[in-house]
Symmetry: C2
Subunit: 755 residues, 2 copies
């Protein structure tokens, strides 16, 4: 039975159309003038020895982004987007990623830097490649599309209990057929997606006005000239042919075999494929799409996926000779004029028809049909192909270099529009997005175990850690969470440990609270429900309360909760101390929503201007919230003798809210460096007393310059928060942002190598 028949007989269509997808995308680091950046690989990306996502290929300047395998293209693109954000935001401000397959402005051959890594054999291999092919050819960059069927599908195919070996044979036969037909028909992909029509003078001295579909896929690009020496008719032959090429020194190592389809297995050696089977196939012929910020569009991936499925689904199959013919057709296509129709157009239409049938028979999503329609249109209209579009733009008078600078800079810029979000993961909590960003950057292997729960699995040098909500980890204990979740318990623990907590009492009845009035009658006090946080039911007496005032406030508080707290009121400013791993990594002052006059604008105009700040958004999708112009703000202005229409004198600050919450338009001001160290030490010691590694402590400190001392504690601690927000420290209205998520990672992996 053919695979197709097995799938149909067993009703496995829905599993057949699933896959495990991975993309590897190279890209040259480039300076602002379009030259190859000669700087070292950024240290912020950590150690390349461990990095699963951000690597270098031949050259120190040649970035390679590797997405982890995922079962849907959607997920695949989440990671591809995220990796682009990570790279764009982390690269030196004077560098960007070159958007073309054909290189940027290269220096002289000898000045092109080979990778500088600790493994000497890796460098040696590149040096051999350099002397064999020349360095410049190695600088051509591309996209590899990795595909395998899911384990579920393999399992379902093998459900009549095949042996391990029989399953390996089955996989090999599937992927070999896919490869044979791919190699035979790859020219169509080059026609559609070829995107390397020209090169810079520094790549090739030959002056030429000729445009191509794909220099990279052409004999002018970088090819093994011996791909016809490897058979795809059986796995044994495939493996032995590659081994022979190594034995007779045609290849330096097996990995030098750059066939457009490369079978990959569990083991490192090609021979392992025979016994263990093919696990996935690397398709390597894709140019970088310079018109997509990710270098390969989602539609291209969809088309490629369907193309690959069709390669199995079709009845046709091909001999090695026909494969070689396919390779020639691909080269011929690559050398075609982008504006001319394909010389193989008729076959192209056939293939698209087969793809269309495949999609229908497999009941694939509509979008798959749409990409076929698009391809049909491109076969009819060559001027719409990628290569033709690029040439059209160049013909307006731009050089390859100029165009590359323009596109590359533009793509980099998009990653800075909302620097607090991580493209691909924008639906997650901001703190989790920040942590993901740093994990990807630093080379920590990461997967999302549960999106709704913000549950990540991290792994670095095989040490697994789990993180929930950005900073809930194995480093904190179960009980410390519960201590902080209970304000009274927190206060008892901190007080017992000798820290300044507001004096006060918890009451469970009005009478009980009234009986204790004497304790409070000569002090400023706060009366509040035990369990609310939002200001409801809270009364503040900055001067000692009268019995009447006290009685009324107690009554109000009991309307909100069955337990109330009467606490000393401490005058002074409240600061959030963010403690991670026994260190205060950030101190934040939050100010109520406010504007400062300029002598000409109305308050409404000032608000509107302030709200334009990129950090201000709505509904917790940004580190700061836009200031509202509602009733509360209006009332607050009125009390101060203003309206939204008042023109505010220059330098005059007007508050629009009493409360300093960020969620009601408050400002965040970083005070990490300004806060006296003695208070930071106290915060660290309190975290230790609570036996907690990550906490946000709210302290009132009347004078941050006057050191705390035994006869002048100079602070009082109001609250200890578990799972404190990190984003509000990272992106502040004023002062330096503090990267706390990175500190979470270094807490989990102290050995991680940092810049």
């Amino acid at each position: 039975m053919t695979i197709k028949e097995t799938v149909l007989t067993n009703n496995l269509q829905h599993l057949f159309v699933k896959g495990s997808f991975g993309i590897e995308k190279e890209g040259l680091r480039t300076d602002l003038k379009g030259n190859l950046a000669l700087t070292p690989h950024p240290e912020a990306f950590g150690n390349r020895k461990h990095h699963p996502y951000i690597q270098t290929d031949f050259s120190e300047s040649q970035l390679e982004l590797v997405t982890p395998p995922h079962e849907t293209l959607q997920e695949q693109y989440q990671w591809l987007k995220a990796l682009h954000d990570v790279v764009n935001r982390t690269l030196d401000k004077d560098e960007f990623v070159w958007p073309f397959s054909m290189p940027n402005r290269l220096p002289k051959e000898e000045a092109i830097p080979i990778i500088d890594v600790s493994d000497k054999s890796e460098i040696e291999y590149r040096e051999q490649l350099a002397s064999k092919y020349g360095k410049k050819k190695q600088m051509i960059s591309g996209v590899h599309f990795n595909f395998s069927f899911t384990e579920e599908f393999i399992e379902a195919l093998a459900q009549d209990h095949l042996t391990e070996e029989e399953t390996a044979d089955l996989c090999n036969e599937m992927y070999l057929k896919m490869s044979r037909n791919f190699l035979r028909y790859q020219w169509l992909l080059t026609y559609l997606f070829g995107a390397s029509p020209v090169s810079d003078d520094t790549y090739s001295a030959e002056e030429s006005n000729t445009y191509f579909r794909s220099i990279r896929n052409s004999p002018l690009g970088y090819h093994n000239t011996f791909s016809n020496k490897v058979s795809y008719q059986s796995i044994r032959q495939y493996a032995e042919d590659i081994e022979t090429l190594v034995d007779d020194k045609t290849l330096i190592e097996e990995r030098e075999y750059y066939g457009a389809s490369r079978l990959r297995g569990k083991g490192k050696m090609v021979r392992d494929l025979i016994s263990k089977g093919t696990r996935y196939v690397e398709f390597r012929s894709f140019d970088i799409n310079p018109l997509d910020s990710l270098g390969f569009s989602y539609e291209q991936s969809q088309f490629t996926h369907l193309f690959l499925l069709t390669m199995i689904w079709m009845e046709r199959d091909h001999s090695d000779k026909e494969i070689e013919e396919g390779a020639q057709m691909n080269k011929a296509t690559a050398l075609e004029n982008p504006f001319e129709p394909s010389q193989f157009k008729k076959e192209g239409i056939e293939i698209l028809n087969l793809m269309s049938e495949t999609a229908s028979e497999l009941k694939m999503e509509d979008s798959y049909h749409q990409v076929i329609e698009k391809a049909e249109s491109l076969l009819e209209n060559p001027e719409q192909t990628l290569s033709a579009k690029i040439v059209t733009e160049l013909k307006k008078g731009k050089s390859h270099i100029q165009y590359g600078i323009e596109l590359g800079q533009q793509y980099k810029q998009t990653s800075f529009e909302k620097p607090f979000l991580l493209n691909g993961f924008q639906e997650m909590e901001m703190s989790t997005q920040l942590l993901l960003f740093d994990a990807l950057k630093m080379g920590v292997e990461t997967s999302v175990l549960d999106y709704n729960d913000q549950f990540l699995k991290l792994s670095y040098t095989n040490k697994v850690e789990y993180v929930r909500n950005g900073n809930m980890t194995s480093k904190d204990t179960y009980i410390s969470h519960w201590i902080m979740a209970n304000k009274t318990v927190t206060k008892k623990v901190l007080k017992n440990a000798g820290y300044q907590v507001p004096g006060g009492e918890e009451f469970t009845s009005e009478q009980q609270a009234l009986d204790h009035f004497v304790l409070f009658r000569d002090k400023p006090i706060v009366i509040k429900p035990k369990s609310t946080n939002y200001g409801i039911g809270i009364s503040i007496f900055k001067k000692p309360a009268s019995l009447d005032g006290y009685t009324e406030a107690v009554r109000l508080a009991f309307q909100e909760d069955a337990q109330i707290l009467v606490e000393e009121y401490i005058e002074g400013t409240e600061y959030r101390f963010f403690v991670i791993n026994d260190k205060v990594e950030a101190v934040l002052l939050r100010q109520p929503a406010n504007v400062i006059g300029n002598g000409s604008d109305t308050i409404e105009e000032l608000i509107s201007e302030k709200n334009k700040h990129p950090y201000r958004g709505v509904k917790h999708r940004a580190p700061l919230e836009k200031i509202k112009m509602g009733e509360i703000e209006q009332l607050m202005l009125k009390e101060q003798g203003y309206s939204f229409d008042s023109i505010l004198e220059k330098g005059k600050q007007v508050f629009l809210r009493e409360n300093s919450n960020i969620s009601t338009g408050g400002d965040s001001i970083d005070m990490t460096d300004e806060m006296h160290d003695s208070y930071k030490q106290i915060a660290v010691d309190m975290a230790k007393a609570l036996e907690v590694k990550v906490t946000g402590l709210d302290l009132i400190v009347p004078d941050i310059n006057k050191p705390s001392a035994s006869d002048h504690p100079g602070y009082v601690v109001i609250e200890a928060n578990f799972n404190p927000a990190m984003h509000m420290h990272a992106f502040v209205q004023k002062g330096s942002g503090r990267n706390l998520s990175e500190k979470v990672i270094t807490m989990l992996y102290p050995s991680i190598e940092l810049s």
Copy 2:
């Protein structure tokens, strides 16, 4: 200004009536024949060096229960009750606590064992006491009532900012006045509460038919004969007088001074009182009340509290000479015939009137007035006093020893009526009650930080640990909790670590689930909503499902949740493995509610009989729930061809429920010893994979005798529970109960010394 005036002027009445209360109660361990138990102090009570609650006094057989100081009498009694439960349930089954002050049947003088502790100086001191007073006198037991005002009150009194020394003076003067008047009027307490009318022949050879109010308070009891040599007029004089008694060898050590009122301070030496002030006062004249299971009734404590307040509140004050007079009046009262009126009745009425005024002026609870009324009645009716009541009982022909055995055994028995609850803390969760029990038993200092949150603070050799809900501790990590809280994440973690989890998939739409039917069509499966636990929306297909059956089950599951799981169904019995600290400490099998026939009773009668088991209760206030006779049970019987009226043949087991939950009347069967070790090892390893110290793992094990092996895993893990219930393992329907709370304590304090 007097204290009274200060209190009234400053409106401090409500603080004045508060206090910090502590009770120390001695009691001789006794064998079933009424003889002094000559066994060592039970090892289960741990090391007496650290034990804050369960101590010994003079003799190895003389238990001393010490309650921690608490701010209300209610709390005081919680601890007193709990300590009695702990002692009663822990003592050897052939021993009980003697309920009288006058000793049980004593052996010869030389056979009475002095305490056997590691500190030699403690033993030496007792040996000196023995040779000075004779051992038998030391065996008289009593109750000490410790009292101080609250820190709040002292703070409020000192609110015009007294120096530390002035505050010390103030406290000393208050407690001295309290002591002077107490000593002057103590005879009234002896009249009311005296309860040692007789002694056994082994205590005193003198044959006598005379009954007394209190042998213990009389010259026949155990007294220092030099109490008149210590002045209570100033703290300096008090301290120096005691020092002089030690210097001239009248006293062995300061602590030998056994005044009926003893001032206690911060330091160990009496001299420290001068500079640091009195912190509390020990009132030592109380006989054990044999008619109360705790040895001192709540009403006695209330009376004593009010009596002490009145001693300060009254204008009267007394010289040392008058105090000495008071001591003589107390001895005279002690020697009175219990059935005769007091010779000081008139003064007694005066004191009660003063107490009544005090209670009124301080607006104390009604119950305080009630205890005064009771006392008034006792002054009028001496035959109603404790001593007279005891004598009345003895006159019926019981010996002191017989009566003591009767009462002591009865009190011990009450602690076994509900052995899964801890008297005083019965409103807390059962697991927390069990933990409290073991903490008190093992000598871990314990306080309840929050009753509603089941939040305990433990301390042992100064190492503090917090526990919530019985087993949530610092030994588990924050993240392990969240892993277990998410079933899908738990499954992923366990599967990745190589354990057998039911194969299956999570689906988010009906279509998606239907598309995957092929994966399940040849296996038994369970289809269930992701987030429910109670059986709702779950379908089980023990034989492979038809597409129609599968479709319907998917639809039902989606009615309950937006995500569903389709999992392999594993045939076999489910066991709960309770892992603590890398060891399986209990394995439990839960069986659905059932009865077994005896050939004569109806099912209704069998249920009723089974429900009489003391472990069966309602609404989670017992380890097992009573079997209900509701519609579900009726239906289940009907399906098996029975009704509640059916008479069941002998040995026939009939189930009344499908589900095995304890909460619906299920049985708990301990299988810890029966389960093959290989599965226990797997459970331990899984807990390690989850990085958790306390977890309840639910495993299906088809054959508990056939060892797990690589080619026969023999189990599948269904769930990992955080904060698993402990009580259902401790009190089981069948098999041995397992004490898990003790294991929690030894996990927290590995150094704790155990029997």
